[in-house]
Symmetry: C2
Subunit: 392 residues, 2 copies
């Protein structure tokens, strides 16, 4: 696949941050200013690039994205703000765009200063290598502990939409250490672009949890450069529905790829809570179950341990009647009416079901219409190894 | 040590629940009815013994405690309630006390039925073996995945106070899978007994987190049988202060023992947040840091990774100015004014400090007077092994 989006070009290279020699600098540029929108971490100690990028996006416009991986730019005081500005400035200078049109991100270890001379030289070099076939290298250059470049492309006859993402650990409901960049050649009004982005992120990136952490650098940004030549889309435009659906599809696909490539993951869990009094209540419980370390270690051990689901569900702070509580694991009903169901035969079938690469946990807690879904993953030796033996 | 408390006797034996042959039934009895109080899990799916014991304690009175380990009694529907009543009844019958004066607990795997014939025979046998030197066996008989019996004894010339506890995983702020039983020969008015218990539990058991889970069976109960012959203590009695201090000491000691014997633990972390606007805000942040899987895996890896503390602190939802933020690890200042501090020399010293068995993390977030402390532990291969390969 050679995905393309009219007017956009990308590059990825090794500028000298990662000791492994892996790619660590990504540059993506539109050949004209684009409408832009972004959602950022809710962490109260955001990295300097988040502070800068968020501020600049208030204008609803951007043209260039520059990202380094290997070292993040968080908690570095005044120096951090200067470095983020400088990265943007060097990219703007090399590509002859306004500083304010550059979005910046840095992801990796917290607490080490960025090697600015290398990064600056890398940005200049990347600017000279921008290409419509550079997407995979760009996607590779934003990775940290994840292992595979994650791209998704979709479109219709009239437009394209392409996204790249990195995730690994710390991915959590509040958009934790996740970078996602989306590019389309549609013309979209900035307010609608923002609305559509929030709508697409909520049931996808925001419903994935790896370890319940919330990173300081999370960013999902979309640029729409208008090269498709359409009249700028608003919420009631003819093409709005196609755009929304395509954006949702790409975010969903990227989220699945994030989950599959999370730190040390061997198995994905899909937690669906239904019968709650409201969607918000269902979401609260699904989130608690998806974040439960005990549920996640049981998933790693392929143990259909519904007792741990009961425990996590009860700890969510969501009211329910215990006699309405039921659980299916991989379609097998193991609990009904607040007690075990199906006997040893059901347990045996659940044991087989939980050995799959993807396991669906359905928790039904009453007769309400509230419903929510969360994606989670197992927690095993691999996660511990990565996080205990590697400074992330 | 042969701890004693006048009027109390204890027994522990193997009744046939644990396949290992380890002790799995504990019985403790006073020779007269005692004032009693308890605090229980806030999980919304409490086990049947919790429902029964909580209801019975409303009278402020108990005489006997019976606990089995190996299998819990949670989510078993109507059968669960019957089994809990039955355990209490058999103990009451064997010891010739009223059913209502028996407290019950079951801890272990969720979702298997209790083997009642074995448990009933075990209770009758235990009743015939009650002894003032049975405490260690009783403490051993309530264990699940923890490895050592945990007792604490304190007192003055005029009274004794003895506690036993089990913990291991799922110990968390809201009193998760923790059983704690405290016995004193003082006479204490029931209302004051409850007040003193809540006061003692809050800064001790409630400030310990192993994995952020909240069990369905947590129970801390105190019995005061009055055999010391004092006039029943109220909050303003002469002996109230001694009693309060002794109770706090025993709870503190038991909490330390719980932390040290948590599942797969190799290192304890003490998280102290100061400078917050209120104690509640400090506690919220300390709890978030103490529960952070990334902080806990870094502790396991002996990595003085203050970036992860920054991340967890920022995710707590507590407002602060980033430029006021500072961190000390094992007394070494590694962050000040929102940025790194002390350079490579401090980092080296912090690396040494974090290799200790117990590491203090001091996080200062401003000039407020709010302050809180949480006890946590590392998360390593041992935790994963226990929880992935063993159905708990």
């Amino acid at each position: 696949m050679r995905p393309r989006v009219r007017g956009f070009a990308a590059a990825g290279l090794h500028c000298g941050i990662k000791p492994s020699g892996d790619l660590d600098l990504a540059l993506i540029a539109s050949d004209c200013p684009a409408a832009a929108a972004g959602v950022f971490t809710r962490n109260r100690f955001p990295g300097a690039p988040v502070v800068l990028s968020r501020r600049r996006l208030r204008r609803g416009r951007a043209q260039v994205v520059v990202v380094n991986s290997g070292i993040s730019n968080v908690a570095m005081g005044a120096r951090g703000a200067r470095d983020a500005e400088r990265m943007a400035h060097v990219a703007a200078d090399a590509l002859e765009v306004a500083d304010a049109d550059v979005q910046v991100a840095s992801t990796g270890v917290i607490g080490q200063p960025l090697p600015m001379p290398r990064i600056e030289a890398g940005i200049r070099q990347a600017a000279s290598r921008l290409s419509t076939s550079g997407w995979t290298r760009a996607a590779r250059a934003i990775l940290t502990t994840d292992t595979r470049p994650k791209l998704s492309h979709a479109g219709t006859r009239s437009f394209d939409l392409l996204g790249i993402t990195k995730g690994a650990g710390m991915v959590m409901p509040d958009l934790a250490t996740m970078l996602g960049y989306l590019f389309t050649d549609l013309a979209v009004k900035p307010e609608f672009l923002r609305e559509a982005l929030v709508e697409a992120v909520e049931p996808t990136f925001n419903r994935l949890t790896i370890d319940g952490e919330t990173s300081t650098s999370d960013t999902v940004t979309i640029l729409a450069n208008g090269r498709a030549g359409n009249r700028p889309l608003g919420p009631r435009s003819a093409g709005a529905r196609d755009f929304r659906r395509t954006l949702a599809d790409v975010c969903e696909d990227l989220t699945e790829k994030l989950a599959a490539d999370a730190e040390g993951v061997s198995r994905i869990g899909e937690v669906i809570v239904s019968g709650a009094r409201s969607d918000a209540a269902a979401e609260k419980m699904a989130r608690r179950i998806a974040n439960s370390v005990l549920v996640k270690t049981a998933l790693f051990g392929a143990d259909p341990n519904w007792g741990r689901i009961v425990q996590a569900a009860g700890a969510a702070g969501v009211p329910f009647r215990t006699e309405d509580f039921g659980i299916r694991i991989g379609g097998v009903e193991v609990m009904r009416g607040g007690g075990p169901f199906g006997g040893p035969a059901a347990h045996k079938r659940a044991e087989r079901a939980v050995r799959a690469k993807r396991v669906v946990f359905e928790i039904s807690i009453g007769r309400g219409r509230g419903r929510a879904r969360m994606l989670t993953c197992d927690l095993g030796y691999g996660y511990v190894r990565i996080n205990a033996e590697y400074t992330t």
